[in-house]
């Protein structure tokens, strides 16, 4: 009994409640006429869509930079990669991996600059990251209008300049990862093998990275900066690397998200994209200064599962659309819980 209590306190009651809430949703679903196979398929799809964006938060958490509310910095790099790839006319696999290849160096430069800034403001990263992200997104909204894009698939039809608010990927690389080796079982269930594999592959790379010398040093900087400094690790350098890594993963993450979603969302769309990712990571059991691959996978699955299940199930039960309220309260409540939790001394 004591052990269960200890486990519950360690894992956190909110997470346990959310976990049982999701299970209840899945149990109730068939009774109110919601197809389990379709829900499961949707959940898996959204899991793959969002997993890398959630993964992108891990390096900065581990290096002690807090939750990366500045994820839009990486997202903007991803948007640049995608639009440039489309502009030079890359399609299919060339298109997707071309976009990845273009966005990575951009993200590295953005991440380096962003990291330099965060190193100057240690201790207040989170609020500043939020506003750095906001200002970059709005600044790039101007550039989307002014940059010399000309591909007719992307610009407004009647003026011939300025990117559209949503750009369809149909003739480029839409669903390319989703459809790769996809397994269809029954009428409604599709397993997006390619995308899930890609997400797991990225997670595996990050996992390996944290096993290397640099990765271990980064974790050391996050857990105890003074100790790390005494051990000859440059805290600023490690933090910069973590921010660069985070930004690059964010860029790749948005590309995977887009190919599954089928559209590129421009302008103000990336403004609030960091918040659901942060909520997912925290639901998975991460804290403000500790996160692992398990947290990413469990968290994304739980969070996206609830986002998929609540609209259909709750609507059938209550005959009203309460899912929006549940989503807001749940995701922000989770972030709030993590921010106000007294951080325990590591055992």
């Amino acid at each position: 009994m004591l052990k269960i209590k200890e486990f519950a306190a360690d894992f956190g009651w909110p997470r346990i409640i959310i976990f049982f809430f999701l299970i209840t949703l899945f149990i109730v679903a068939p009774f109110v006429g919601v197809s389990i196979s379709m829900s499961l398929s949707d959940t898996l799809n959204r899991f793959g869509q969002n997993a890398i964006l959630v993964l992108a938060l891990v390096p900065m958490v581990q290096a002690g930079c807090g939750l990366n509310f500045g994820l839009p910095v990486g997202i903007i790099a991803g948007l640049l990669g995608a639009t440039i790839a489309m502009q030079i006319g890359l399609t299919g696999w060339f298109g997707f991996f071309g976009a990845v290849a273009i966005c990575l160096p951009i993200a590295a430069v953005f991440g380096w600059l962003y990291g330099q800034l965060l190193n100057k403001v240690k201790g207040e990263e989170m609020t500043i990251a939020m506003y750095v992200g906001f200002s970059l997104v709005t600044f790039f909204s101007i550039l989307w209008l002014l940059l010399p894009y000309s591909s007719p698939a992307m610009v407004w039809g009647y003026t011939g300049k300025g990117l559209r608010t949503t750009i369809t990927l149909d003739n480029f690389w839409g669903h390319i990862l989703n459809n790769f080796l996809a397994v269809r079982i029954g009428e409604n269930f599709v397993f997006p093998t390619g995308m899930i594999l890609f997400a797991l592959f990225c997670a595996f790379l990050v996992y390996l990275f944290f096993r290397t010398k640099t990765g271990t040093a980064m974790t050391a900087v996050g857990s105890n900066p003074d100790f790390a400094r005494a051990g000859g690790v440059s805290s600023d350098k490690m933090r910069t690397i973590s921010v660069m890594l985070s930004t690059m993963l964010g860029a790749v993450g948005i590309l995977v998200y887009q190919q599954s979603f089928g559209f590129i969302q421009m302008y103000q769309a990336p403004l609030f994209m960091a918040f659901p990712a942060v909520a997912a990571l925290l639901i998975g059991g991460a804290s403000v200064n500790k996160a692992s691959m398990i947290n990413v996978i469990v968290g994304t699955f739980l969070f996206q599962g609830i986002l998929t299940m609540t609209p259909s199930v709750i609507n059938s039960v209550l005959q009203t659309d309460m899912s929006e309220v549940i989503r807001i309260v749940l995701s922000n409540g989770m972030i709030l819980y993590a921010l106000t939790r007294k951080t325990k001394v590591t055992k």
């Binding site: 309460m322 922000n332 921010l339 939790r341």
Partner: protein, 373 residues
Amino acid sequence: MKKKFDFRRFIADNVVVVIFLILTAIATPISGLSANYILQDIITRIGRNSFLVFSLLLPIMAGMGLNFGMVLGAMAGEIGLIFAVDWNISGVWGLGFSVLVGLPIAIILGWAAGAVLNRAKGREMATGYILGFFMDGVYQFVVLYLMGSLIPMRSLAITLSRGYGIRNTLNLDSVRQSLDNMMMVKLFGLNFPVGTFIIVAILCLFIVWFRKTKLGQDMRAIGQDQLVSNASGIPVETTRIIAIVMSTVLAMIGQVIFLQNMGNMATYNAHRQTGFFAVAAILVGGASVTKATIPNVFVGVVLLHLMYIVMPRAGAELFGSAQIGEYFRDAFSYGAIALALVLHAWRKRRGVEIDRAGLRMNTVDPAAKGGAV
């Protein structure tokens, strides 16, 4: 040499203000708007917004940073207005009634917010920001689902056709500009809402007086150093909660004043931008996370809103697209907040380092400190 140094210090301390001054100075002539139009708009916006911005002062004084949780107060004010419209109480009385209804809600929400922020010392701003999002969900739940079902509503005109929940936009005709028009004075062809200005002036006097009271002094002491304050017998946690409660109540009144000027209310969106505008205004006015004064509020409201008035037109004239002007002003407002936060954090760190150097050598001129107070 000395003089030049001072000048550079002044620029460095007020860099956000200087940037905004230059920006608006360039954009205003380009926009081609008449001076009369701009002045009238500025006067209206001072009356409309300054009260909301004032609600940020007390938490800054108490060392809690910018109170992004002020949107909780804005929500309380909106609930008050919903009831005033529902009960059909019009004119200034309707506003007074809204404030009376909003007051207990704002106090409870403020207390809760203060307690939450006490558990998140050192990251109050991020926590307050998320708290605003969280309560937005709760507000939506109450207004969209409980009002009309659990909470009785009398007027069919404001409820959704399904029988419960409040409509997306609430028409505030019954109280529209009742405070502004109470003592409208016409001078030099401009309309001055003297009634609103008097209320803002009373608030200024209140703040000046409050700083000198025991509670106000306690707050300032806590803003300087929590440990020392605690050691000298100031109840730190309670005083911090009181600061947030007062801020929430002021924000509630501020939102009522804001909305009576606007004349209608986007029930579910009106409070979303409140925190952003108030925070941007006070930072553009030259305040920092730890220091804000009454002039900061007015300078900030004037500069920020001048930019909001002229930028779309300037964008239209320069680039042929008002949209660019709008993105431009948003980018600069977000950028101003980011810059002010960065400068503050940077100065604080430099201050700490100079302190350390001072401990070692005891020869550092205190004036060389980063300017963080």
